[in-house]
Subunit: 204 residues, 4 copies
DNA sequence: CATGAATGAGAGTTCATTCAT
DNA sequence: TATGAATGAACTCTCATTCAT
């Protein structure tokens, strides 16, 4: 970031721009998100955009940064609740929440997920992963004895990528042949079964 | 295709261009794949490109068409072999084969998988899905009684998307914390368990 | 117009571009009028052109729009004067004025007339036709009794197309065999006689 | 022409190409008439086109040359017939014939007339003018005493340009407000009156 | 001779970025 | 500081023409 916004007006400008970027991505897709358009959406001049961000990429990075921050807060609120649920209920709930997000904000999160590889996504991913890891650890700690999960990082990595991209693909293709409830049920069964399973891949 | 190649030379030109496109995508990514670059890679002028393809998109479509064709042949050869394996062995093999492809051709398939939503990917997807469906159906037919799988389309949709994108993400991030064997084992366990499970999502 | 010019500088830019387009058309012909050339003539970058005009065609349309506007003002000034003239003097004057225009601005209007069928010329044509119709109606209204002209639209359509394209052809070929005064006299005689004639095409 | 076609096969090739050019112009307009398209229309390779014509322009020139030749023959046949008609009938007939041509061959002649200034049209124009001049001279010679026409070249120049381009404009715009019969009648009245008038532009 | 594959200059257009005001 | 006018490299695509086969 070119300039630390120390005045309140500046901080607001930064926020406005970041939000405008999100709206552009949602409405026009990542490819249709141009700097002039972002500026116009923000009701600001392009010049101002470059006053606060070195480049388009920096702006998008800031957007993702904010996203990571928001998600952190969101997840922190949820951690407590999760512990009381049965594994299956928790998994199902997580899938449903994810699915809801995909449809929200005019498909903003969907577009992000589709284009993750073109985004400076590390920060968000890190935050998300750490949180999921924390939640997972906490959960299995509370249920120790019931599900002694080995190699948690791998399990969670497989889990959230499978869920996330299966849902993205499901929403994107929309062939009508597959029903949302079936997908959610299927994923729930698969993930629950996987997380309950003992680590050994091959039975002796 | 704008003009049907009548001389042998031009049939080769078409092939050269399609291959050059693949190389460009592998080396420069989809965004870095421009018509001048494709032409240069093919050792040809831009004009030649447009003698045989109506547009850049048509060229990429042709590439995917060829891919679909190649995959069809490849999978047809493999169908017979699959039936004799135990479910787990077959799943693990499929995952390993997929993983191998992701690393081949300088990451060409990886880049395709990453950018699936920007590609005229329907033909390939159709072919792949139908084949996977066929193989799946065949397999479970031969093992009837052992794994009476209900709602096969949903199961397979979840299965191949989970595997594919988990692997793509695994290769893309390369944090070094996760080991390939663990990912393969984990996926194998998850998918095998899922395909073996009875359809009912909630246990009684 | 893509963007409304808000600063004075940019309003001037729009004018500059439109004028440059006119100069290009005059100097290089319509086919030789390319966007790089227009930009260069205006002393501006191509990008600037596209900041204010959606396309080359839009730019040309704007030029014609301006032309229609200018002609409107010009004709409005002339309407009053016309009424006092005898029919023949008015016709001769109109022809002379048209001829003058054809030679002005390095043949700009000449080139427009030559290429009317490739131009988004409706607006100009409409304006011109309406004005000519108005002037004609007004004129014959003031001279009612003397020239009761039936089917005015047809008469004027024939009149101005005959004059315009005969002059265009005369200037374009310039074989030297035909003298300008003779053409003007001839057209004057023809048009005057035609407008004075009664409507019935066949004499009884 | 690059090469004198001495063999019969060659002469036929030239003809085929010229005819294909005409068909292309009629179907695709002058701008849509490309050398590859001409070749394809002729069922011949581009290479062959350039074997017989130095350039696209030469090909079009040849087309116009042929046109001039055809018109010469056509007009020669008609000269005799004209003399027996009254002036008005002859004028009306000429207008009607012209109008018919404009609609023939998918608008080929119409497109030529629209684009006369971009064509190497001199030869055709010369031929046409000379013939019209001949016919005119002959006609008025036979009717000497009735219409002693002074300055025939100017009169005929004005006459045929007025007729030709008024008709072209009429067909092109097709606003529906003007009726063909009215246009033909109007032109007939105008031209007949003009040709009958005495030379002096200003009445005493 | 005939073919049609190959060329490449040049057209219209876009957009991240700069800089005078 | 905020503005938005201005930039220009780079992209996709066309077509008259050439030349190896």
């Amino acid at each position: 970031m070119r300039k630390k916004p120390q005045q309140q007006r500046s901080r607001q400008m930064v926020d406005t721009l970041v939000e405008a970027t999100a709206r552009c991505i949602a409405k026009n897709g990542l490819d249709g998100t141009t700097t002039p358009l972002i500026a116009e959406t923000a009701g600001v001049s392009v010049g101002s955009l470059y006053q606060y961000f070195d480049s388009k990429e920096a702006l998008i990075a800031a957007l993702l940064e904010k996203l990571a921050h928001d998600l952190t807060r969101l997840l922190n609120q949820q951690v407590g609740l999760a512990g009381k649920l049965e594994l299956e209920d928790m998994v199902r709930m997580a899938i449903r929440v994810t699915l809801t997000y995909m449809h929200e904000d005019e498909g903003f999160y969907l577009e992000l997920a589709r284009n993750w590889h073109r985004l400076p996504v590390d920060r968000v991913a890190d935050v998300l992963e750490r949180h999921i890891m924390d939640i997972g650890r906490l959960y299995f700690l509370q249920h120790v004895g019931k599900y002694p999960v080995e190699n948690l990082p791998v399990r969670l990595f497989i889990t959230y990528n499978s869920v996330l991209f299966t849902l993205v693909r499901f929403i994107s293709q929309d062939s009508g042949l597959l029903k949302e409830d079936d997908i959610v049920d299927g994923l729930t069964v698969m993930i629950t079964g996987y997380l309950r399973s003992s680590s050994a891949p091959a039975s002796p």
